[in-house]
């Protein structure tokens, strides 16, 4: 890994440790400052058998809180990759890391079979044995027709682009396999504004689950592929949009730091709600006519959305819809952090981390919660029992 990425901005101030949800939940984690920039200096010196980095959930609250702009979590992920390089990856982590590939593999199998296969008590027990905590929420596969509907549009439908141009959707694994409805809602919204939307079949998993599982090389392969695809689409004048904040962050901002040896090609990837909101701000998309969805909404900003550094466009979008009162609960990480909170030994940490958020949502009195991230939605549903939706789903339904 390149040394271009260095720990020099860190002043050792400890603000990241104060804001780290994992450090707050367990004394086993040395904390982001230590495992990140402090250890990085030792790793450059050839020392790297600190296993504390296993505790990092990659939620990125360290990056968000750092007064010095240090990408602390990226150090941690690279350290985990280095730490895992010569070690055997446990089956649990392989399962999580390659969940995208698995989803693709079973794309023709009906949901009831998959979900029965995954969620029946016997499977949960087996999964528990390999290290997926049986108490943890698992997302459910979406109906077969929805999954197939999303990938209907792999090529240009019409010969010419939409009147506003063309959008290539990077759906991400969660939306592809568990919530294709969100992708379909986004497609319908964008088509309404005059975009032609395609869902390129060449996109693969963004690589984040692989990276978190310590499978650096596999993640890098995915990154290569996505980068090439994204570049091709970009050169054709298409805008790339993803409903998943984590995928947008990974593909749009993190590849460069994580895989610096590969040709640095930066292709902008828009987080979907932020893209739609920019259309509203520009006056291109008028949502004043949206039917009031008269509920009180609680909005949770996913950590990776905050890490994108663009504010909370989904929240702003909702706040502009007539008849909506939306509360930014602003109570920190949901604790699941992708698949972190599913792991045995981490479930308790995740549950404790999320408890503050769940309480705040319950106290808000909202009947419906909104969040951009699929993993957060799964977690909040599990933690509060409330339904949770993507903001663009609400918008699509209201128009």
């Amino acid at each position: 890994m390149s040394r271009r990425f260095n720990p020099d901005e860190c002043t050792a101030c400890a603000v990241c440790t104060v804001h780290c949800p994992v450090a707050a939940a367990t004394p086993c984690f040395r904390g982001p400052k230590m495992t990140g920039p402090a250890f990085e200096r030792l790793r450059l010196f050839g020392l790297h058998d600190d296993d504390s980095v296993e505790y990092c959930s990659n939620c990125k609250n360290c990056d968000i809180s750092c007064p010095s702009g240090v990408p602390v979590s990226t150090f941690n992920m690279l350290a985990r990759a280095a730490y895992s390089r010569d070690k055997k990856i446990p089956p649990r982590d392989l399962l999580i890391g390659f969940s995208g590939d698995i989803g693709k593999l079973v794309r023709h199998i009906p949901a009831f079979l998959l979900n029965f296969g995954m969620k029946n008590p016997l499977t949960r027990l087996l999964l528990d044995i390999i290290g997926l905590d049986k108490r943890a929420p698992l997302p459910a596969f979406a109906p077969l027709n929805q999954r197939q509907a999303l990938f209907r549009n792999t090529k240009h439908i019409s010969g010419d682009k939409g009147r506003r141009g063309a959008v290539a959707l990077f759906p991400g694994c969660f939306v592809s396999y568990y919530e294709p409805g969100v992708g379909l809602d986004i497609i319908s919204l964008l088509e309404k504004v005059g975009y032609e939307v395609i869902v390129p079949g060449d996109f693969v998993c963004c690589g984040l689950p692989l990276l978190c599982a310590g499978l650096y090389d596999a993640a890098r392969e995915r990154a290569e592929k996505n980068r090439r695809t994204a570049l091709g689409l970009h050169e054709q004048g298409m805008t790339i949009v993803s409903p998943c904040p984590s995928c947008a962050l990974m593909v749009g901002q993190e590849y460069e730091a994580l895989f610096p040896e590969d040709a640095p090609v930066s292709v902008p990837v828009h987080e979907a709600a932020s893209f739609v909101y920019s259309l509203v701000e520009e006056g291109v998309f008028d949502i004043a006519g949206a039917r009031p969805i008269a509920e009180r909404l609680a909005y949770h900003a996913p950590c990776h959305l905050r890490a994108l550094g663009m504010g909370r466009p989904g929240l702003e979008l909702l706040s502009r819809m007539p008849g909506v009162r939306v509360d930014d609960v602003n109570a920190g990480c949901c604790g699941l952090s992708g698949s972190y909170g599913m792991k045995k030994g981490k479930y308790e940490i995740g549950a404790q981390t999320g408890s503050g958020l769940f309480a705040a949502i319950r106290e808000s009195g909202a009947q419906l919660c909104v969040s951009e991230c699929g993993s957060c939605r799964t977690s909040i549903e599990h933690g509060t029992g409330l339904p949770v939706a993507h903001p663009l789903t609400l918008l699509a339904r209201a128009l």
């Binding site: 030792l42 968000i64 007064p67």
Partner: protein
């Protein structure tokens, strides 16, 4: 000074040569005493780049020295593997460098027996990706990095085992001769005052650049010309190998990776005095320009320190600089008519063993001793036994163990034994260089006279990223606990250590290193008030009353729809939040953008207004002292009345948000809070756990074993020494950390304890522990552990149950009181309906006709513009990155407003770190008018709808004045009033 036994040989100089010589002589069975005026390695041995030469550098100019280096290099790798990092080296020819030199150099290496193997430049770049692509030729040579400190220390330990005696901080003051022969020396120990005579048969001066001074004591002349070389230490290891420039030896040719750092140098400047090791910023900049040729991103790497050493160039013919030989000489003074004395000087670190051998040969010949030299064969220290490694593995992480084992060599067992006794001592005292409490104690207990500097050299504590910011206090505390009887005051110990660190940092005051310094001032000057004046009197019992601030009663304001915002506030520190709350209070629709969480969460959690003016403490009403401030001071711009309203406003909002604050009653003055170093710090508004100490106070100080950043012994010692508390007792009492937090993966902080205390079980635990102390006093001082979210409740409950007052001391980061304040302020923002977007970094502004039309945010190739009618910029100073500082270019970041600064970098800072007057760099900032609009020097308004608040403003130094949060609140409030 105690009586010393007569010896055969006295060696003067505790550098590599002297210590190596002492070992060599002792190994030959000759009694030997080594004296050194400072600590071991205090001279050039610790002030070189740590290169174990392969000899290649000297192959052309000095083949004899080159072959010598090659031989010695191999020997040192063999006898001291724990001191040598076998990195190998590259000689890199830059495209600009003269190819004729390479043509001479490669064959010369071959002649000297130095393997110099050509490497394909492409391959070299693959191995060292930070190197320039402008490479003409690369050769691989057997250079290595060597730890000079460690080599000398291990030599010293070995010498002592062979019976040599080593006295540091002992100066040679006279040489006694009789009949043309040396019969003894006069010595003076530091602080002892009296001199002591030691009879000897032979005297060797290995005083390096001080050899001339030493010889003069015997009326002799030794032609040593001190030659200064500048070195720069970088924060991270950007090269794996020693990198030499393949050209005729010149300045800035050598980069040596050294543990966690890289050392780069050097220069060659003749100086008058060997102690002349000052560094000018301009010299640093010149060296960087040279180095950029090989490492184009060199200026992007953070420098930790600049330091200089003086080479002892032997130049009887008064040749200087690079023309003088790097060879060593042994001057037998018998030729000048004085027998029994020799001077060994010149040379280089790589050949220190050989210098010692040759000198010892001469000495032994004169003494009639025939034992041969064995230093080339016998290892310096034995590798730790399997058994010891197994014991260590049970306690330390593997990497930490390896570092400590290498540093401590034969003494490693002591470190392990200490940690076995008390497992919490596996915690890191120095987190940057991985030094545990156990290792620190193992070294500190070797001598009751060790200063923090002496321990630093033996452990590397304080030599990493933070340069002592976080470990100084811990080290001072640990030292006080190990040597409780030591007479030195904690304040002095810390000051001395930090001043020494400052010497190396001062020439580098820009960018990242300046930020680190601002953090250091935040901790030691502002939080700990280590240097500032202390109050001359405290309120008597019954006075110094404080009143609670009534909580505001505002209604919940839901966030309003996005769009058509009135105000954008940039910065979520105290100034930005105050501005946002004030503007929202006035009915404005407000968005708050923040990039990073600022330092609020690690601040004191109190509001200071003004604690010191003109180096005098303010014990009375701080607002009344605003008249003494300069007209451009932010307080002078907003006025005392507004500042007082501002403190009231923010305090009432914080109290409403569940964190009850107190301020002095009308007519009472500043509140002086006890700190973790036992000083008092002036503040105005205080939160739970913070109470003024009165003149009547005497207290128990409760500490928690294993809790870093607070030591009951240190705080108690500091307070007991405080003139205000003469005759009062502060007794330190310790208890154990809660079981589940003991010796876990993470070292214990007050934040961990506080989070536990927030739970009912934790409150109960703290109550029991405090009760079990059976403190005889009515007050217990303790670290900030009364909880994060429930501190007021915990304090009330425990005080009632224990019938005692609980006072938290101000602690360094990550302390809890700042986090309490931050959380309350964010609750207040939510209540006020302010929309808060974190991690949004406004990078530039759209300005038309002096009107800001929007702030631009760019991330991953996507742009977003945030617009409002008015803007408040509270992005902070240098630390908050509101202000960018590079040599010759200092400006406000978003609008690129110029910031006036002294032309010479040397004028940026005072000579001393703790200097009782503002540092120039600290007062730099944006010039504003009374409306807090940026103005040019002639008063022209630069931006009509933009107001500035907080530490981005010029004209005050938060650390010396103790005014940081007060200025933030006052100017934030004033800005919120103007939008």
């Amino acid at each position: 000074m105690q009586k010393l036994n007569d010896v055969s040989v006295v060696v003067v100089g505790g550098g590599a040569t002297g210590v190596g010589l002492a070992r060599d002589i002792a190994m030959r069975g000759v009694s030997c005493l080594l004296v050194e005026q400072g600590d071991l390695c205090a001279g050039a041995t610790s002030r070189f780049h740590g290169l174990l030469h392969s000899g290649a550098r000297y192959a052309v100019g000095d083949p004899e020295a080159a072959s010598e280096c090659a031989r010695e290099n191999a020997i040192l790798r063999r006898i001291a593997p724990e001191c040598v990092e076998q990195t190998e080296g590259f000689f890199v020819g830059h495209a600009e460098d003269d190819p004729a030199w390479e043509a001479k150099w490669a064959p010369a290496c071959a002649r000297c027996g130095i393997p110099a193997v050509p490497v394909e430049p492409r391959e070299a770049l693959g191995l060292e990706p930070e190197l320039t692509a402008d490479v003409r030729a690369v050769y691989r040579v057997p250079d290595s990095a060597v730890d000079g400190f460690r080599m000398v220390l291990h030599n010293a330990v070995s010498a002592e085992r062979y019976g040599a005696r080593i006295l540091t901080y002992t100066r040679l003051t006279g040489i006694e001769t009789r009949g043309g022969r040396v019969v003894g020396v006069w010595l003076e120990r530091r602080g002892a005052g009296e001199k002591c005579f030691v009879a000897c048969e032979y005297l060797v001066s290995a005083a390096g650049a001080w050899a001339g001074e030493t010889a003069r004591l015997a009326g002799l002349e030794v032609g040593v010309s001190p030659d200064r070389g500048l070195l720069l230490a970088f924060n991270h290891r950007f090269t794996e190998r020693v990198i030499n420039r393949l050209r005729k030896p010149a300045d800035g040719d050598i980069f040596v990776p050294h543990g966690t750092v890289v050392i780069y140098g050097t220069t060659s400047v003749p100086v008058r005095h060997p102690g002349d090791t000052g560094v000018e910023t301009e010299e640093v900049l010149r060296l960087l320009s040279d180095g950029e040729k090989l490492f184009p991103r060199l200026r992007d790497y953070r420098m930790l320190r600049a330091f200089a050493g003086t080479r002892p160039l032997y130049a009887p013919d008064s040749s200087t600089g690079r023309s003088a030989t790097r060879n060593f000489v042994i001057v037998d003074h018998e030729k000048e008519g004085l027998s029994g004395m020799a001077t060994v000087t010149g040379g280089k670190f790589t050949s220190f063993r050989l210098m010692a051998e040759k000198t010892a040969d001469l000495v032994c010949a004169r003494l009639g001793v025939h034992a041969p030299c064995r230093t080339a064969e016998e290892r310096l220290t034995e590798a730790p036994s399997e058994q010891l490694i197994e014991r260590a593995r049970n306690i330390f992480p593997a990497d930490g163990m390896r570092l400590a084992a290498e540093r401590q060599g034969g003494d490693f067992e002591r470190t392990v034994a200490i940690a076995e006794q008390a497992r919490w001592k596996k915690s890191l005292l120095c987190e940057c260089e991985f030094v545990t409490y156990a290792e620190f104690e193992a070294v500190a207990s070797q001598s009751p006279e060790f200063s923090l500097g002496d321990i630093r050299r033996r452990t590397r504590m304080g030599m990493g990223t933070c340069q002592g910011n976080f470990c100084a206090l811990r080290a001072g505390a640990a030292l006080a606990e190990i040597n409780p009887a030591s007479a030195s005051s904690p304040r002095k110990t810390l000051e001395e250590f930090l001043e020494e660190r400052w010497r190396g940092i001062r020439p580098l005051l820009w960018g990242r290193q300046l930020r680190e310094v601002e953090l250091e001032r935040g901790i030691y000057a502002a939080l700990m008030n280590l240097e500032g004046p202390q109050p001359t009197s405290l309120p008597a019992r019954g006075q110094g009353r404080i009143r609670s601030i009534p909580a505001a009663k505002t209604r919940d304001n839901p966030q309003r729809p996005a769009g058509d915002d009135d105000v954008i506030v940039v910065g979520a520190g105290l100034a930005g939040i105050t501005a946002a709350l004030r503007a929202a209070h006035r009915g404005r629709k407000v968005v708050l953008l923040s990039a990073g969480a600022g330092v609020l969460s690690i601040s004191s959690g109190s509001i200071d207004v003004l604690g010191v003016v003109n180096n005098a403490p303010i014990c009375g009403d701080p607002f009344a002292s605003f008249d003494d401030l300069a007209p451009e001071h932010p307080y002078s711009l907003v006025g005392a009345a507004v500042a007082a309203d501002a403190v009231d406003f923010i305090a009432s909002r914080v109290s409403e948000a569940g964190l009850p604050l107190h301020v002095p009653e009308k007519g009472e003055g500043n509140i002086w809070l006890p700190t973790a170093v036992g000083t008092l710090k002036p503040v105005f508004a205080v939160g739970p756990g913070m109470s003024p100490l009165t003149a009547a106070s005497s207290a128990a100080v409760a500490g928690i074993r294993g809790l870093k950043d607070f030591s009951a012994v240190l705080a108690a010692k500091g307070l007991s020494e405080h003139p205000l508390f003469a005759g009062k007792t502060f007794s330190p009492l310790n208890f154990d950390a809660p079981r589940h937090l003991r010796a876990t993966g993470r070292d214990l902080t007050s934040l961990d304890i506080s989070r536990f205390v927030d739970t009912p079980a934790g409150t109960d635990w703290l109550r029991k522990e405090l009760a079990s102390l059976k403190a005889a006093s009515d007050t217990i001082l303790l670290p900030a552990v009364l909880g994060v979210d429930t501190a007021a409740h915990v304090q009330r409950t425990l005080e009632e149950k224990l019938d005692v007052s609980l006072v938290e001391c101000v602690c360094p980061p990550p302390a809890v009181s700042g986090l309490r304040m931050q959380k309350a302020l964010f609750r207040a923002l939510r209540k006020a309906g302010v929309r808060v977007f974190d991690n949004v970094a406004a990078q530039e502004a759209i300005v038309e006709n002096r009107d800001c039309r929007g702030l631009v945010v760019r991330q991953g190739g996507i742009k977003r513009i945030f617009t409002a009618k008015s803007y408040v910029i509270a992005t902070g100073g240098v630390y908050g990155k509101g202000i960018s500082s590079q040599p010759g270019s200092i400006f406000e970041r978003i609008f690129h407003l110029p910031v006036a600064a002294p032309a010479r970098l040397a004028d940026w800072a005072n000579e001393r770190f703790f200097s009782h007057k503002p540092h120039a760099f600290a007062t730099l900032g944006v010039r504003v008018n009374k409306e807090l609009q940026a103005v040019a020097e002639d008063g022209t308004v630069a931006l009509s709808n933009v107001h500035f608040a907080g530490s981005i403003l010029r004209g005050y130094d938060f650390a010396t004045e103790k005014s940081g949060s007060g200025v933030a609140v006052a100017t934030g409030y004033a800005a919120g009033d103007r939008v």
